[in-house]
């Protein structure tokens, strides 16, 4: 029995005014899996996540957690946002405990998750003294303190520099291996999606345009050949294969091979 919740999305539809952002979307996610959601800006990724989180009610369709319709905010669902969104007047530890009524979160548990995200001993600091990467670690610790069964991540590492992002990927995978929650990761970064997900869906105009399984063993190496292949495959669909440039395809003095024409 896996700890994570199973997630099913049935006939989800949503629109902002005239603009349709989700169109009869269907998805299922096995317990304990990580689903990567990629796509161009405005393809409906974030709206999908906000609907799963219960922050927004869909115009059509429903979200099922463990086979049960789950509208609204659910205690077993937690979210990590693109910005850390920490409360500047609270200490790091108090920020981590935000989901609990004051004084009810165990100090040991808070110290434990801070240790887990590599911020052991920083509980009494204010968010202002932390770096961007450290703040995002706090926001991750905040999300996992209540041991959620479904974790939603909205571009969680998008604002970090490349090196910090790689560190965070490794950290997130470690935490996921330990906690075995189900996760939905929305990201612009195809490499990130491939590095972390078990399955990837590419959204286009509110529908699933491409669905792939990422069969790379864990813990993952960020330059696994299968990963590189999947990244290329998705990018080809997203931006189209690179058209052969005439000048490059036929360099002077070289016989054209014709294979890429």
């Amino acid at each position: 029995m896996v700890f994570g919740a199973s997630l099913a999305i049935r006939g989800l539809g949503h629109a902002f005014g005239e603009r349709c952002v989700l169109d009869d979307l269907n998805l299922t996610l096995e317990p304990g899996q990580i689903l990567g959601v990629v796509g161009r800006s405005g393809c409906g990724k974030t709206t999908l996540l906000r609907i799963i989180a219960g922050l927004q009610a869909p115009l059509a369709g429903e979200v099922l957690l463990d086979g049960v319709s789950a509208p609204g905010i659910r205690p077993e669902v937690r979210m990590v946002f693109q910005e850390p969104r920490l409360f500047p007047w609270r200490t790091v530890a108090a920020n981590v405990a935000i989901g609990f009524p004051p004084g009810t979160a165990s100090a040991d548990a808070i110290a434990g998750v801070l240790e887990e995200v590599g911020l052991g001993g920083r509980g009494r600091d204010r968010p202002a003294v932390l770096s961007g990467g450290q703040r995002q670690r706090v926001s991750l610790a905040r999300a996992i303190l209540s041991r959620p069964r479904l974790l939603l991540l909205d571009e969680p590492f998008g604002a970090l520099d490349a090196l910090t992002r790689l560190e965070m990927h490794r950290l997130f995978e470690e935490i996921w291996l330990r906690e075995s929650f189900t996760a939905v990761l929305v990201t612009h970064d195809v490499q990130e999606a491939v590095a972390l997900s078990d399955r990837i869906v590419m959204l286009d105009q509110g529908r699933v345009a491409l669905e792939l399984r990422v069969a790379v063993p864990r813990p993952r190496d960020h330059a696994h050949p299968t990963s590189t292949e999947i990244v290329a495959q998705i990018l080809d669909r997203l931006v189209g294969p690179r058209a052969a440039h005439p000048a490059r395809a036929n360099p002077p003095g070289v016989t054209p091979s014709g294979s890429r024409a």
Binding site: P75, R85, F87, W89, I98, P101, P102, A128
Partner: protein, 285 residues
């Protein structure tokens, strides 16, 4: 800028290359503290100098128009020696403290209600914004009729004065909170009450303290109006008494005392602000 003739910013930045270096921001340390004190004391010193010149040296004013410094000083000493001054100050302090507290006690819940409920805002805010513009003296006759001539109307008037700046600022603080932070509270399952007490009010604290500072200033301003109401004590009474008895020296003692007490109150609140919301100066996302 430089101590010599006025320079254009360009000339100044050219000079920065070799001699004058812009140190950026405020300096620190004991020396800067001393300079700040000297700078702050400069204008009062000039005013006192002018006072002395126009009265004791040039005799531009009669003693009825502007009493000389020594006469005023004598009046102050007399007031202190007789104990009248202390009595007036204590009475005023007590009224301001009570009225200010009452104003806070009324303003915080009203602001929390208006800031967190759309319906409450639509019902309460227009009226409160209109009442805010009523001058303090306009309330006096009615407060006398309704609340008698004792301490209650005075304290109430001061509370009215303190109420509005606190109310307006806390509402503004709640309105200006980052909706993304509120969303965190919602996703993490906070109730409406928890959102109010754990997110909205702390986020509005810097605004609230600005409101408190303005409110305290208003409380001292309304005090004088309040002490027009059949009073026998207080700095406001001292002013009016001085006026009625043609004692401009006593009036000056009153004015200076009010200014100093107002400034002291503000400094105390600034200190509180510094301790309570040190986080507001730090930037965090």
């Amino acid at each position: 800028m430089g101590s010599s003739s006025p320079r254009s910013p360009l000339a100044c930045s050219k000079r920065a290359g070799n001699k004058t270096v812009w140190r950026g921001g405020r300096g620190s340390g004991a020396r800067t503290g001393k300079i700040a004190w000297l700078a702050a004391a400069a204008l009062p010193a000039v005013l006192i100098g002018l006072w002395w010149m126009t009265t004791s040296v040039a005799h531009r004013f009669t003693a009825n128009q502007l009493p000389p410094i020594d006469q005023t000083w004598a009046a102050a000493r007399e007031l202190v020696q007789s104990g009248d001054f202390q009595r007036h100050v204590l009475a005023s302090l007590r009224r301001v403290a009570l009225g200010f507290s009452l104003g806070i006690a009324a303003a915080l819940p009203s602001a929390a209600l208006v800031g967190s409920s759309r319906a409450a805002e639509r019902i309460l805010d227009p009226t409160l914004q209109a009442l805010r513009n009523v001058p303090s003296l306009a309330w006096v006759p009615f407060l006398l009729l309704w609340l008698g001539i004792d301490e209650l109307p005075k304290v109430t008037l001061i509370a009215i004065g303190a109420f509005f700046p606190i109310y307006v600022n806390v509402v503004a603080g709640i309105k200006r909170i980052d909706p993304k932070l509120v969303e965190v509270g919602v996703v993490f399952g906070m109730s409406r009450a928890a959102l109010l007490f754990r997110i909205f009010l702390p986020a509005a604290a810097p605004y609230a303290l600005t409101g408190l500072r303005i409110g305290a200033g208003q409380a001292w301003l309304f005090l004088v109006a309040a002490e027009l109401i059949a009073s026998t004590r207080g700095l406001g009474f001292m002013l009016i008494d001085g006026q009625n008895n043609l004692r401009p020296d006593i009036m000056i003692v009153g004015i200076v005392s009010l200014a100093l007490l107002g400034k002291l109150t503000d400094s105390a609140l600034r200190l509180l602000e510094h301790h309570l919301i040190s986080w507001a100066g730090e930037q965090a996302a």
